[in-house]
Protein backbone atom coordinates (compact mmCIF):
# COMPACT_ATOMS: atom_id res chain seq x y z
CA UNK A 1 0.00 0.00 0.00
CA UNK A 2 1.60 3.27 -1.08
CA UNK A 3 1.86 5.63 1.83
CA UNK A 4 3.04 9.13 2.56
CA UNK A 5 3.10 10.76 5.96
CA UNK A 6 3.21 14.20 7.42
CA UNK A 7 5.96 14.49 10.01
CA UNK A 8 5.91 16.91 12.94
CA UNK A 9 9.18 15.80 14.53
CA UNK A 10 11.78 15.47 11.79
CA UNK A 11 14.28 13.61 13.95
CA UNK A 12 11.79 10.82 14.61
CA UNK A 13 11.01 10.44 10.92
CA UNK A 14 14.69 10.44 9.98
CA UNK A 15 15.24 7.61 12.43
CA UNK A 16 12.26 5.53 11.24
CA UNK A 17 12.81 6.09 7.49
CA UNK A 18 9.26 5.57 6.20
CA UNK A 19 8.83 5.40 2.41
CA UNK A 20 7.68 9.00 1.98
CA UNK A 21 7.39 11.84 4.48
CA UNK A 22 6.86 15.57 4.43
CA UNK A 23 8.26 17.30 7.50
CA UNK A 24 6.28 20.38 8.44
CA UNK A 25 7.51 23.14 10.77
CA UNK A 26 4.21 23.39 12.64
CA UNK A 27 3.32 23.05 16.30
CA UNK A 28 2.24 19.70 17.66
CA UNK A 29 -1.49 19.37 17.11
CA UNK A 30 -1.52 21.15 13.76
CA UNK A 31 -0.12 18.85 11.06
CA UNK A 32 -1.87 20.85 8.35
CA UNK A 33 -0.56 24.13 9.69
CA UNK A 34 -3.37 26.52 10.48
CA UNK A 35 -7.09 26.24 11.23
CA UNK A 36 -9.56 28.03 8.97
CA UNK A 37 -6.95 28.48 6.24
CA UNK A 38 -8.05 26.15 3.44
CA UNK A 39 -5.54 27.52 0.93
CA UNK A 40 -2.61 26.87 3.25
CA UNK A 41 -3.90 23.45 4.28
CA UNK A 42 -4.30 22.53 0.63
CA UNK A 43 -0.71 23.48 -0.12
CA UNK A 44 0.49 21.24 2.69
CA UNK A 45 -1.79 18.39 1.61
CA UNK A 46 -0.71 18.65 -2.00
CA UNK A 47 2.98 18.81 -1.12
CA UNK A 48 2.57 15.56 0.83
CA UNK A 49 0.46 13.75 -1.77
CA UNK A 50 2.82 14.67 -4.60
CA UNK A 51 5.54 12.63 -2.93
CA UNK A 52 3.51 9.56 -3.96
CA UNK A 53 4.71 10.13 -7.51
CA UNK A 54 8.39 9.83 -6.61
CA UNK A 55 10.13 6.94 -8.34
CA UNK A 56 12.21 5.79 -5.41
CA UNK A 57 12.76 6.39 -1.75
CA UNK A 58 12.88 6.78 1.16
CA UNK A 59 11.90 10.38 0.70
CA UNK A 60 11.98 12.99 3.46
CA UNK A 61 11.23 16.49 2.29
CA UNK A 62 10.73 19.73 4.21
CA UNK A 63 7.68 21.92 3.68
CA UNK A 64 9.13 25.37 3.00
CA UNK A 65 6.56 27.60 4.69
CA UNK A 66 5.89 28.36 8.33
CA UNK A 67 2.27 28.32 9.44
CA UNK A 68 0.63 31.72 9.20
CA UNK A 69 0.09 33.48 12.50
CA UNK A 70 -3.47 32.81 13.56
CA UNK A 71 -5.70 35.46 15.00
CA UNK A 72 -9.18 35.02 16.31
CA UNK A 73 -11.78 36.63 14.08
CA UNK A 74 -13.89 39.15 15.99
CA UNK A 75 -17.38 39.19 14.60
CA UNK A 76 -20.01 41.84 15.05
CA UNK A 77 -22.17 39.75 17.31
CA UNK A 78 -19.43 39.28 19.95
CA UNK A 79 -19.86 41.11 23.23
CA UNK A 80 -17.61 44.10 23.68
CA UNK A 81 -15.96 43.18 26.94
CA UNK A 82 -13.92 40.06 27.64
CA UNK A 83 -15.00 38.09 30.67
CA UNK A 84 -13.07 38.34 33.84
CA UNK A 85 -14.49 36.04 36.40
CA UNK A 86 -16.59 37.73 39.04
CA UNK A 87 -15.60 37.15 42.61
CA UNK A 88 -16.94 33.86 43.88
CA UNK A 89 -18.54 33.42 47.29
CA UNK A 90 -15.79 33.08 49.84
CA UNK A 91 -17.42 29.94 51.22
CA UNK A 92 -17.78 28.22 47.86
CA UNK A 93 -15.99 24.91 47.39
CA UNK A 94 -13.63 24.54 44.47
CA UNK A 95 -16.13 22.41 42.46
CA UNK A 96 -18.82 25.02 43.13
CA UNK A 97 -16.44 27.72 41.95
CA UNK A 98 -15.74 25.79 38.76
CA UNK A 99 -19.44 25.29 38.09
CA UNK A 100 -19.97 28.99 38.58
CA UNK A 101 -17.06 29.72 36.25
CA UNK A 102 -18.63 27.45 33.62
CA UNK A 103 -21.83 29.40 33.95
CA UNK A 104 -19.97 32.63 33.27
CA UNK A 105 -18.37 31.16 30.17
CA UNK A 106 -21.51 29.52 28.84
CA UNK A 107 -22.47 32.41 26.57
CA UNK A 108 -19.00 32.45 25.02
CA UNK A 109 -19.09 28.73 24.44
CA UNK A 110 -22.47 28.97 22.75
CA UNK A 111 -21.02 31.68 20.53
CA UNK A 112 -18.06 29.44 19.66
CA UNK A 113 -20.37 26.58 18.72
CA UNK A 114 -22.56 28.87 16.65
CA UNK A 115 -19.58 30.24 14.75
CA UNK A 116 -17.87 26.94 14.15
CA UNK A 117 -20.91 24.73 13.74
CA UNK A 118 -19.38 22.13 16.04
CA UNK A 119 -17.74 21.53 19.38
CA UNK A 120 -15.15 19.13 20.75
CA UNK A 121 -17.11 18.94 24.01
CA UNK A 122 -19.19 15.82 24.49
CA UNK A 123 -16.91 12.77 24.46
CA UNK A 124 -18.41 11.86 27.84
CA UNK A 125 -22.01 12.53 26.85
CA UNK A 126 -22.43 13.97 30.34
CA UNK A 127 -23.24 17.51 31.57
CA UNK A 128 -20.19 19.43 32.74
CA UNK A 129 -21.65 20.08 36.19
CA UNK A 130 -21.92 16.34 36.77
CA UNK A 131 -18.34 15.87 35.59
CA UNK A 132 -17.10 18.58 37.95
CA UNK A 133 -18.91 16.98 40.89
CA UNK A 134 -17.39 13.62 39.94
CA UNK A 135 -13.89 15.11 39.88
CA UNK A 136 -14.51 16.92 43.14
CA UNK A 137 -15.66 13.77 44.86
CA UNK A 138 -12.59 11.96 43.56
CA UNK A 139 -10.32 14.64 45.00
CA UNK A 140 -12.00 14.31 48.38
CA UNK A 141 -11.54 10.56 48.33
CA UNK A 142 -15.26 10.01 48.45
CA UNK A 143 -16.61 7.00 46.65
CA UNK A 144 -17.49 8.82 43.44
CA UNK A 145 -19.99 6.92 41.32
CA UNK A 146 -18.81 7.00 37.76
CA UNK A 147 -21.02 9.01 35.44
CA UNK A 148 -20.85 6.10 32.98
CA UNK A 149 -20.67 2.47 34.04
CA UNK A 150 -19.02 1.41 30.76
CA UNK A 151 -15.84 3.37 31.54
CA UNK A 152 -12.94 2.31 33.74
CA UNK A 153 -11.91 4.65 36.55
CA UNK A 154 -8.95 5.88 34.52
CA UNK A 155 -10.97 6.52 31.36
CA UNK A 156 -13.81 8.21 33.27
CA UNK A 157 -11.35 10.63 34.84
CA UNK A 158 -9.47 11.30 31.62
CA UNK A 159 -12.51 11.92 29.46
CA UNK A 160 -14.12 14.12 32.12
CA UNK A 161 -11.00 16.29 32.15
CA UNK A 162 -11.04 16.43 28.36
CA UNK A 163 -14.61 17.70 28.14
CA UNK A 164 -13.91 20.28 30.83
CA UNK A 165 -10.81 21.60 29.09
CA UNK A 166 -12.46 21.62 25.66
CA UNK A 167 -15.28 23.77 27.01
CA UNK A 168 -12.91 26.32 28.50
CA UNK A 169 -10.64 26.47 25.46
CA UNK A 170 -13.53 26.90 23.05
CA UNK A 171 -15.17 29.56 25.20
CA UNK A 172 -11.95 31.50 25.53
CA UNK A 173 -11.31 31.37 21.79
CA UNK A 174 -14.71 33.01 21.19
CA UNK A 175 -13.87 36.04 23.31
CA UNK A 176 -12.66 39.13 21.48
CA UNK A 177 -8.97 39.91 21.54
CA UNK A 178 -7.36 37.36 19.28
CA UNK A 179 -6.23 34.38 21.31
CA UNK A 180 -3.28 32.39 20.06
CA UNK A 181 -3.06 28.80 21.19
CA UNK A 182 -0.40 29.42 23.81
CA UNK A 183 -2.36 32.38 25.23
CA UNK A 184 -5.44 30.19 25.65
CA UNK A 185 -3.36 27.46 27.25
CA UNK A 186 -1.70 29.88 29.67
CA UNK A 187 -5.00 31.53 30.54
CA UNK A 188 -6.54 28.18 31.41
CA UNK A 189 -3.68 26.82 33.48
CA UNK A 190 -2.83 30.13 35.20
CA UNK A 191 -6.16 31.82 35.78
CA UNK A 192 -9.05 29.38 36.06
CA UNK A 193 -10.56 27.51 38.95
CA UNK A 194 -10.92 24.53 36.61
CA UNK A 195 -7.14 24.29 36.33
CA UNK A 196 -6.83 24.44 40.13
CA UNK A 197 -9.31 21.58 40.28
CA UNK A 198 -7.22 19.52 37.86
CA UNK A 199 -4.02 20.22 39.79
CA UNK A 200 -5.72 19.09 43.01
CA UNK A 201 -6.95 16.02 41.17
CA UNK A 202 -3.40 15.19 40.12
CA UNK A 203 -2.16 15.50 43.69
CA UNK A 204 -5.01 13.34 44.96
CA UNK A 205 -4.32 10.58 42.43
CA UNK A 206 -0.54 10.40 42.79
CA UNK A 207 -0.65 7.37 45.05
CA UNK A 208 -3.86 5.81 43.79
CA UNK A 209 -4.17 2.05 44.15
CA UNK A 210 -4.91 1.67 40.45
CA UNK A 211 -1.65 1.89 38.43
CA UNK A 212 -3.59 3.06 35.38
CA UNK A 213 -5.05 5.95 37.38
CA UNK A 214 -1.55 6.76 38.66
CA UNK A 215 -0.24 6.73 35.09
CA UNK A 216 -3.07 9.01 33.98
CA UNK A 217 -2.32 11.48 36.77
CA UNK A 218 1.40 11.45 36.09
CA UNK A 219 1.36 11.60 32.30
CA UNK A 220 -2.04 12.39 30.79
CA UNK A 221 -3.58 15.07 33.00
CA UNK A 222 -1.43 18.20 33.00
CA UNK A 223 0.68 19.15 29.95
CA UNK A 224 4.42 19.34 30.53
CA UNK A 225 4.40 23.05 29.69
CA UNK A 226 1.81 23.76 32.37
CA UNK A 227 3.56 21.67 35.00
CA UNK A 228 6.59 23.87 34.86
CA UNK A 229 4.68 27.01 35.68
CA UNK A 230 2.97 27.71 38.98
CA UNK A 231 -0.46 29.37 38.81
CA UNK A 232 -0.54 33.13 39.24
Amino acid sequence: MPTVQISLVREHTAALQPPRALWVPFMLGRPLGAPDDPAFQKRVLLAALQLLERAQGPVLEDFPEDAPQSTEVVEDDAAACPVSFTVQRSDATLPETVIDEIGQLQMWHELAVRRRGRTAVGVTGTPLSELVRFLGATIEGRDAARYRVDLSACDALRLACEDLKSFYFEARAAQPGGHASDAIRDWFWQETAAARLLRELQAALENNDDPLVQDFAANYLIPRQARDRDPA
Binding site: T3, Q17, K42, G117, R185
Partner: protein
Protein backbone atom coordinates in the same frame (compact mmCIF):
# COMPACT_ATOMS: atom_id res chain seq x y z
CA UNK B 1 6.65 25.23 15.25
CA UNK B 2 8.34 21.88 15.98
CA UNK B 3 11.86 22.65 15.09
CA UNK B 4 13.49 21.07 18.08
CA UNK B 5 16.00 23.88 18.28
CA UNK B 6 13.11 26.27 18.97
CA UNK B 7 11.67 24.27 21.85
CA UNK B 8 12.59 24.60 25.53
CA UNK B 9 15.47 22.31 26.40
CA UNK B 10 13.31 20.01 28.57
CA UNK B 11 10.84 19.53 25.67
CA UNK B 12 13.65 18.96 23.17
CA UNK B 13 15.30 16.40 25.42
CA UNK B 14 11.98 14.64 25.96
CA UNK B 15 11.37 14.25 22.23
CA UNK B 16 14.94 13.24 21.42
CA UNK B 17 14.80 10.73 24.25
CA UNK B 18 12.20 8.73 22.33
CA UNK B 19 14.53 7.97 19.43
CA UNK B 20 16.49 5.06 20.96
CA UNK B 21 13.24 3.18 21.57
CA UNK B 22 12.02 3.54 17.99
CA UNK B 23 11.97 0.25 16.07
CA UNK B 24 14.51 -0.54 13.41
CA UNK B 25 12.96 -2.19 10.39
CA UNK B 26 14.82 -4.87 8.48
CA UNK B 27 13.24 -3.95 5.15
CA UNK B 28 12.36 -0.77 3.31
CA UNK B 29 9.25 -1.68 1.31
CA UNK B 30 8.47 0.61 -1.58
CA UNK B 31 5.17 0.53 -3.42
CA UNK B 32 4.86 2.72 -6.49
CA UNK B 33 1.66 3.72 -8.27
CA UNK B 34 0.16 5.73 -11.05
CA UNK B 35 -0.28 9.46 -11.31
CA UNK B 36 -1.87 11.25 -8.38
CA UNK B 37 -4.83 12.21 -10.55
CA UNK B 38 -5.89 8.54 -10.67
CA UNK B 39 -5.20 7.64 -7.01
CA UNK B 40 -7.88 6.73 -4.51
CA UNK B 41 -6.76 8.33 -1.27
CA UNK B 42 -7.52 7.43 2.34
CA UNK B 43 -6.58 9.31 5.49
CA UNK B 44 -5.19 7.54 8.53
CA UNK B 45 -4.53 9.63 11.62
CA UNK B 46 -3.07 8.93 15.05
CA UNK B 47 -5.07 11.77 16.60
CA UNK B 48 -7.56 9.55 18.37
CA UNK B 49 -10.53 10.66 16.26
CA UNK B 50 -13.91 8.98 15.92
CA UNK B 51 -17.48 9.78 15.12
CA UNK B 52 -19.29 11.32 18.05
CA UNK B 53 -21.57 8.29 18.26
CA UNK B 54 -18.64 5.86 18.27
CA UNK B 55 -16.71 4.63 21.31
CA UNK B 56 -14.02 6.90 22.67
CA UNK B 57 -10.51 5.46 22.80
CA UNK B 58 -9.94 3.87 26.19
CA UNK B 59 -7.08 2.10 27.92
CA UNK B 60 -8.39 -1.24 26.63
CA UNK B 61 -8.70 -0.01 23.04
CA UNK B 62 -5.63 2.18 22.80
CA UNK B 63 -4.02 0.06 20.07
CA UNK B 64 -7.18 -0.33 18.04
CA UNK B 65 -8.56 1.91 15.31
CA UNK B 66 -11.84 3.62 14.60
CA UNK B 67 -13.58 3.83 11.24
CA UNK B 68 -14.48 7.25 9.88
CA UNK B 69 -16.87 7.06 6.93
CA UNK B 70 -15.85 9.04 3.88
CA UNK B 71 -19.06 11.08 3.93
CA UNK B 72 -18.57 12.18 7.53
CA UNK B 73 -19.43 15.76 8.43
CA UNK B 74 -16.65 17.61 10.24
CA UNK B 75 -19.04 18.40 13.08
CA UNK B 76 -19.43 14.68 13.70
CA UNK B 77 -15.73 14.09 14.44
CA UNK B 78 -14.63 13.92 18.08
CA UNK B 79 -11.19 13.41 19.66
CA UNK B 80 -10.29 11.21 22.62
CA UNK B 81 -6.51 11.27 22.26
CA UNK B 82 -4.68 10.44 25.52
CA UNK B 83 -1.77 12.85 25.18
CA UNK B 84 -2.20 16.37 26.55
CA UNK B 85 1.09 17.64 25.14
CA UNK B 86 -0.13 19.21 21.94
CA UNK B 87 -2.31 22.12 20.93
CA UNK B 88 -5.99 21.25 20.69
CA UNK B 89 -7.32 24.69 19.95
CA UNK B 90 -6.60 24.18 16.24
CA UNK B 91 -8.73 21.02 16.11
CA UNK B 92 -11.45 22.69 18.16
CA UNK B 93 -11.53 25.45 15.59
CA UNK B 94 -11.20 23.39 12.41
CA UNK B 95 -11.09 19.61 12.03
CA UNK B 96 -9.12 19.95 8.81
CA UNK B 97 -5.99 21.16 10.59
CA UNK B 98 -5.72 17.59 11.93
CA UNK B 99 -7.88 15.54 9.57
CA UNK B 100 -8.07 17.27 6.15
CA UNK B 101 -11.21 15.52 4.92
CA UNK B 102 -12.72 18.64 3.33
CA UNK B 103 -9.44 19.51 1.63
CA UNK B 104 -9.21 15.99 0.25
CA UNK B 105 -12.74 16.22 -1.13
CA UNK B 106 -11.85 19.52 -2.80
CA UNK B 107 -8.81 17.96 -4.46
CA UNK B 108 -11.01 15.16 -5.78
CA UNK B 109 -13.57 17.63 -7.12
CA UNK B 110 -10.76 19.42 -8.91
CA UNK B 111 -9.48 16.08 -10.29
CA UNK B 112 -6.11 16.59 -8.62
CA UNK B 113 -6.62 13.18 -7.05
CA UNK B 114 -8.72 10.38 -8.50
CA UNK B 115 -11.14 9.87 -5.64
CA UNK B 116 -11.61 9.87 -1.88
CA UNK B 117 -11.84 6.51 -0.13
CA UNK B 118 -15.17 5.38 1.27
CA UNK B 119 -13.55 4.85 4.68
CA UNK B 120 -10.79 6.51 6.67
CA UNK B 121 -9.28 5.46 9.96
CA UNK B 122 -7.90 6.75 13.21
CA UNK B 123 -5.50 5.23 15.67
CA UNK B 124 -4.72 6.77 19.06
CA UNK B 125 -0.99 7.31 18.95
CA UNK B 126 0.04 7.79 22.57
CA UNK B 127 1.48 5.60 25.26
CA UNK B 128 2.17 2.50 23.20
CA UNK B 129 5.27 1.31 21.40
CA UNK B 130 5.00 1.69 17.63
CA UNK B 131 5.10 -2.07 17.09
CA UNK B 132 1.95 -2.58 19.19
CA UNK B 133 -0.11 -1.27 16.30
CA UNK B 134 1.12 -3.82 13.79
CA UNK B 135 -1.71 -6.40 14.09
CA UNK B 136 -4.40 -3.79 13.61
CA UNK B 137 -2.39 -2.03 10.91
CA UNK B 138 -2.23 -5.27 8.93
CA UNK B 139 -5.96 -5.77 9.37
CA UNK B 140 -6.55 -2.26 8.18
CA UNK B 141 -4.38 -2.76 5.09
CA UNK B 142 -6.80 -5.46 3.98
CA UNK B 143 -9.75 -3.11 4.42
CA UNK B 144 -8.01 -0.42 2.40
CA UNK B 145 -7.48 -2.83 -0.47
CA UNK B 146 -11.13 -3.84 -0.36
CA UNK B 147 -11.94 -0.12 -0.68
CA UNK B 148 -9.73 0.15 -3.78
CA UNK B 149 -7.35 2.54 -2.01
CA UNK B 150 -3.95 2.98 -3.62
CA UNK B 151 -2.65 5.95 -1.63
CA UNK B 152 -2.71 6.58 2.09
CA UNK B 153 -1.87 9.84 3.84
CA UNK B 154 -0.76 9.26 7.42
CA UNK B 155 -1.15 12.27 9.70
CA UNK B 156 0.15 12.74 13.24
CA UNK B 157 -1.09 15.19 15.85
Amino acid sequence: MVRLADLPEWEREHLLGKIPALPKFATRPWVAGGPLSRRRVALITTAGLHRRSDRAFTVDTRNDYRVIPGDVEAADIAMSQFSVNFDRSGFQCDVNVVFPIDRLRELAQASVIGSVADFHYSFMGAGSAVTRYEPKARELAGLLKQDGVDAVLLTPV
